[in-house]
């Protein structure tokens, strides 16, 4: 892999964001709205409930983690969609660019955009609602790592899907986080779920983050084995997603879909 083609993908996204507030605003606006909304809900619950649960920590903290994961996934897909929207695949792939370089460029773009989103969320949640985010200490690192890796995996997987089924399938990408959220126990323990949903949840890396987060906040300690499983699963998911993207890329080159990529031709 060469660094310059990778830098090209990141630079292109920087150019687009610099010239277009409509691309920058969603990076910060939606997460800000989420933190403010859930911040007030948490504050209200803290004032009326006498369960001993700190809602600011457990509920707002969970929202922050989940939004971070969503931003990572969208960071990958948005960078990929730039090529879909500008019908740029021939210009892009009739070059020496390797698929690994392209995907690395998308991932670096996602790191930058998701960190901006995380910073905005942290500032708002701490400043407005006093979220003791750093009370999780060094555990923050594996928590964020698992969510980051899984966000990358889903972003690459979603991009592969759009590459295979065409721009019209883009709408399938946006609800993916919402579809997963009931299974991973963002707001409740997995034990709340019926057995089959719990089984699905155990296959999804974020479930280990939210279970650990609740355990730590509840003063019960966490299971390092569970978190390690989350890291392992997320790593496996990334490898699977990269493999699938490569397979789809080979298919669209073989079938001619890449050369005539449009909403009408892909299918």
């Amino acid at each position: 892999m060469k660094w310059r083609p990778i830098a090209a993908i990141v630079l292109r996204q920087f150019y687009l964001m610099r010239s277009s507030p409509t691309r920058v605003l969603p990076m910060v606006a939606w997460v800000a709205v989420d933190i403010i909304l859930w911040g007030f809900i948490s504050r209200y619950l803290d004032s009326v409930a006498s369960t001993g649960v700190n809602f600011i920590s457990s509920l707002l903290g969970a929202v922050l983690f989940w939004d971070f994961f969503t931003r990572v996934m969208q960071g990958v897909t948005m960078a990929f969609f730039e090529d879909v929207w500008s019908r740029n695949f021939i210009n892009m792939f009739a070059t020496p660019l390797l698929i690994s370089e392209y995907l690395t460029g998308l991932v670096l773009t996602a790191i930058i955009t998701s960190l901006v989103g995380l910073l905005v969320m942290l500032v708002l949640a701490t400043w407005l609602f006093g979220l003791p985010f750093f009370s999780l200490g060094l555990l923050l690192l594996p928590f964020l790592l698992v969510l980051f890796l899984f966000g990358i995996a889903l972003g690459v997987l979603a991009s592969a899907m759009v590459l295979r089924f065409g721009p019209a399938s883009e709408w399938l990408v946006w609800p993916i986080p919402a579809l997963l959220s009931p299974f991973v126990g963002v707001f409740y323990p997995l034990s709340t779920l019926p057995a089959w949903m719990r089984a699905v949840g155990h296959l999804l890396p974020p479930s280990y983050v939210f279970e650990s987060m609740r355990a730590v906040l509840g003063g019960h300690g966490y299971s390092p084995g569970g978190l390690l499983t989350g890291v392992g699963l997320a790593t496996l998911d990334i490898l699977l997603a990269a493999w699938l993207f490569t397979c789809v890329y080979r298919y669209v080159v073989r079938s001619g879909l890449l050369a005539r990529y449009s909403a009408e031709s892909a299918g």
Binding site: A8, E82, L97, R250, V253, R254
Partner: protein, 267 residues
């Protein structure tokens, strides 16, 4: 320049295509064609719509996988060493405009990184001047006129000083004066840099003026090959256009595929 002779060494070729075939189900788009483009040679790829010109170009660009046959760019097998082969190639095509949401300069900067162009800033400045794009450097490509977009596509196509240049109707949107200028520049480039050029056009005057050799493609087969200045008379036609029309209207069965002019290119 005459057709490549038997004595021509394989290393004299910028492009060697052998028994190239593309089949979609029962439909044969390209039917086992063999040809070469030597260094400094401009080869016109002619044929009616649907003859297989763009399919052939897409296969040479690596965005469409052949069903059979081989493509060598500068002696490098495209299917085995895609990135290395495409590093020597570039293209301009009317159906692949550069991203409209980037400016002229941003597009050239982006592609200079993708192609890993050394001393890119100086190269871009030189091309902005050469293709009369200096005053448009900060204009988004989507706002350019079709002629300006064509000039930008050509500037991008020579950015990496390719050894093989593929031009799919490069002057289609240009006024006669601009088209003449572009033809002259491309001829100079071929002669000075030794770049081989594969050129498609429906403008027979342009083909006659620019190309050293032409290949007539119909129903995915090469029907005729030769010097565009002498070929019409050799086949009893007054002009290249008359010959084109006659060949395009004749049924497929009347014309068996021509064998490759150079035995080295035969399957």
């Amino acid at each position: 320049m005459s057709a490549p002779g038997a004595a021509t060494a394989a290393t004299d070729y910028a492009l060697q295509v052998r028994a190239l075939r593309k089949q979609y189900g029962d439909t044969v788009a390209v039917d086992g064609i063999s040809f070469g483009v030597r260094r400094s040679e401009i080869v016109g790829l002619l044929g009616p719509n649907g003859a297989g010109k763009t399919t052939t170009i897409n296969m040479v660009l690596g965005v469409l996988q052949p069903s059979a046959g081989s493509i060598l760019i500068e002696g490098i097998e495209l299917s085995r060493h895609r990135s290395q082969a495409l590093a020597h190639t570039n293209f301009a095509a009317v159906y692949a405009p550069l991203p409209g949401n980037l400016t002229v300069q941003q597009n050239l900067r982006f592609f200079s990184l993708v192609y890993d162009v050394p001393a890119a800033a100086a190269r871009i400045e030189s091309l902005l001047t050469e293709y009369d794009l200096r005053r448009l450097r900060k204009v988004r490509c989507g706002l350019l006129s079709s002629g300006e977009q064509t000039r930008l596509s050509l500037a991008k196509a020579v950015l990496n000083q390719p050894r093989l240049l593929l031009l799919d109707e490069p002057t289609a949107s240009l006024d006669p004066s601009a088209a003449a200028l572009v033809r002259s520049r491309i001829r100079q480039m071929a002669q000075r840099s030794g770049c081989g050029i594969l050129w498609t056009s429906h403008n027979m005057y342009e083909v006659q003026e620019t190309c050293d050799r032409v290949l007539f493609l119909s129903h995915g087969r090469i029907l005729l090959e030769g010097d565009p200045k002498t070929l019409p008379h050799e086949h009893g036609a007054a002009t290249l256009e008359e010959l084109f029309i006659r060949l395009a209207r004749e049924p497929q069965a009347d014309h068996p595929q021509m064998p490759a002019a150079d035995p080295g290119l035969a399957p």
